[in-house]
Amino acid sequence: MAKLEERQALPEEDLRDFFREMLLIRRFEEKVEERFRAGELPGFLHVAIGQEAVAVGVCRALEERDVMASTHRAHGHTLARGTPPNALMAELYGKVEGCSRGYGGSMHLYDVERGNLGANAVVGGGLPGIVGAALAFKLRGEDRVALAFFGDGATNIGTFHESLNLAQLWGVPAVFVCEDNHWAESTPASQHLPIRDLEQRAVAYGMESTKVDGQDVEAVYGATAQALEHARSGRGPFFLLCETYRLVGHYVGDPQVYRPKDELARLRETEDPIDKLRERLGLSDEEVEEVDREVTGIVETSVEFAKNGTDPEPGDALKNVYA
């Protein structure tokens, strides 16, 4: 973190753009909650309200040629990486216009053209693939980085261990972004992690790491830029730990019986990344409202777009099984 402070602050214009993006994601996720409750959305949905700064800070630091893999909590990552809200919403409605053509759903959002290699419904499931993508970049001498998102809970699975270990051993250009929101579903970190400081995980591989305040988009952006630079310059992979907060249930509809009510209320007060950025930028109510109107409009449009989308033919299910 020391190095980060030496870096120049981001231009305010960029931060305002981040603000807009974060608010768009927030409104999108709220709409998803609403439409799910209205019974319109099939399947299993996880929103990332509270974690928008990680999605935006990380994805905006990526170059277009870089690739990433996401998790079950993927809407924010996907939007921040550039998938149009229409395509994302259409996917959640199971439409042909969706970013996975209706085959994937919320936990399987792909947008390969934009370097999104897919969300993953298996915890840790996307990590080895990112090592492999990074290996391909290295073998071909391409100036690209592969980046994986995953949660604190994912650091307990063998896939995590093997992937980070292999990445470090082979020195591939990969960045591992841990979104530490202190919960794995209903299980608090104290019940699933034997250590308090997750940066210690990287020690086992001799991998360089940084911890950053995941509610501060500027800090996340800066740390990601450094991590990418590290990887890009041939110094091997990097472990980026983002401390963040899930300000909602694990899944949409989660009654959160396991979570102290006051924790949630307190965090919403103190740890909302959008509030923080608003304050940092000193935005007026009018300014915020204007942005809000714009992004809310985009989200509304995406719902219209999705509802008017095309249902696949049942028999289309037989397509895409094999190339």
């Binding site: 099939p42 399947g43 299993f44 307990n156 299980t187 019986v257 696949p312 299910a317 099984v321």
Partner: protein, 328 residues
């Protein structure tokens, strides 16, 4: 007789065993405060405490393996694997360790472990949260495999599985947790390896498992309206398999349909068909029809998902195909 939901029946089997016996404990992801992702273990933390209702990290392999180790010390752990898709992470321990310790040691140890899991389509979870993989474990000597389709069955079979001295992979079906059935006042263990004849009939036998038992019963009723008398048999235990009951039924009806939600190719129905064509060859008046999911990963869009997995209509169609054949 009280009525229990499938969910309550699973819970009752677990709780009954845990009350009877300190050696039984459960572990799995989110089974404590949250009561499990299907709500099966709700309330159990309060009754049994966190040592016996163990919330765990996301470590499917080590969980199953820890269950093996505790079982080898004479305990009777029940490990919940949240979705059967995640069995793929624990296969090494299930297949190479649990199934083989007894054998490799020449009989020195027992592994009385139960691995409970669930899956099944019908709610658009996509390709990684609804596979049906029971067939894999039927191929592994040393394992027992159970797939329960009703509240009474799941209660009695799970209890027996916990007290079985062998590793049991126990399959539940996601869409069945809400269904209800009258069950005995006192839990009655159900012997593994015994099929349940849900409905007697004369013209065709439908062998079905899991959700398809209910689809088969629906199809059977419709078929009855068409003048076809259908026998519906649920093997319940896939390994050991009650070949006797299946063969006897087919020798009576001379026709057979096998139905499950898993993809047809290399599904459990293949084994049933292979056994029956062998043991009831001279009795069969028509080829055995198989009903299962089409050969694709599960698609997300509901219209596609609905079309991929089989329903009563598919069973009915298969019944019609087989009774439409002339005998030989």
């Amino acid at each position: 007789m009280p009525e229990l939901s499938y969910r309550e029946a699973v819970r009752d089997a677990l709780a009954t065993a845990m009350r009877r016996d300190d050696e039984v404990f459960v572990m799995g992801e989110d089974i404590a405060e949250m009561g499990g992702s299907m709500g099966v273990t709700q309330g159990m933390l309060d009754e049994f405490g966190p040592e016996r209702v163990r919330n765990t990290p996301i470590s499917e392999m080590a969980l199953v393996g820890a269950g093996i180790g505790a079982a080898m010390q004479g305990m009777r752990p029940v490990v919940e694997v949240m979705y059967e898709d995640f069995l793929t992470l624990a296969c090494e321990q299930i297949v190479n360790q649990a199934a083989k310790h007894r054998y490799m040691s020449g009989g020195q140890v027992k592994v009385p472990l139960t691995v409970r899991t669930q899956g099944g389509a019908g709610w658009s979870p996509g390709a990684q949260h609804a596979q049906q993989l029971e067939a894999w474990f039927v191929h592994v000597p040393g394992l027992k495999v159970v797939f329960a389709s009703t509240p009474a069955d799941v209660r009695g079979l799970l209890y027996t599985s916990i007290y079985d001295d062998n590793p049991v992979v126990f399959f539940e079906h996601r869409t069945l947790y809400g269904i209800k059935e009258e069950v005995p006042d006192e839990l009655e263990p159900i012997e593994l390896g015994k099929a349940r004849v849900h409905r007697e009939g004369e013209d065709v036998t439908v062998v079905a498992t899991g959700r398809l038992v209910h689809e088969a019963l629906r199809a059977a009723e419709e078929a009855e309206g068409e003048g076809v008398s259908v026998e519906v048999v649920d093997p319940r235990t896939l390994q050991p398999l009650d070949e006797e009951t299946l063969v006897a039924s087919v020798k009576k009806t001379n026709r057979c349909v096998v139905a499950h939600e898993a993809v047809t190719r290399m599904g459990f129905g293949a084994e049933v068909a292979a056994v029956l064509q062998h043991q009831a060859f001279d009795w069969l008046d028509a080829p055995i029809e198989r009903v299962g999911a089409r050969f694709t990963p599960l698609p997300f869009a509901p219209v596609m998902e609905e079309w991929v997995v089989p329903h009563a209509a598919d069973v009915l169609e298969a019944i019609r195909r087989t009774v439409g054949r002339n005998g030989h």
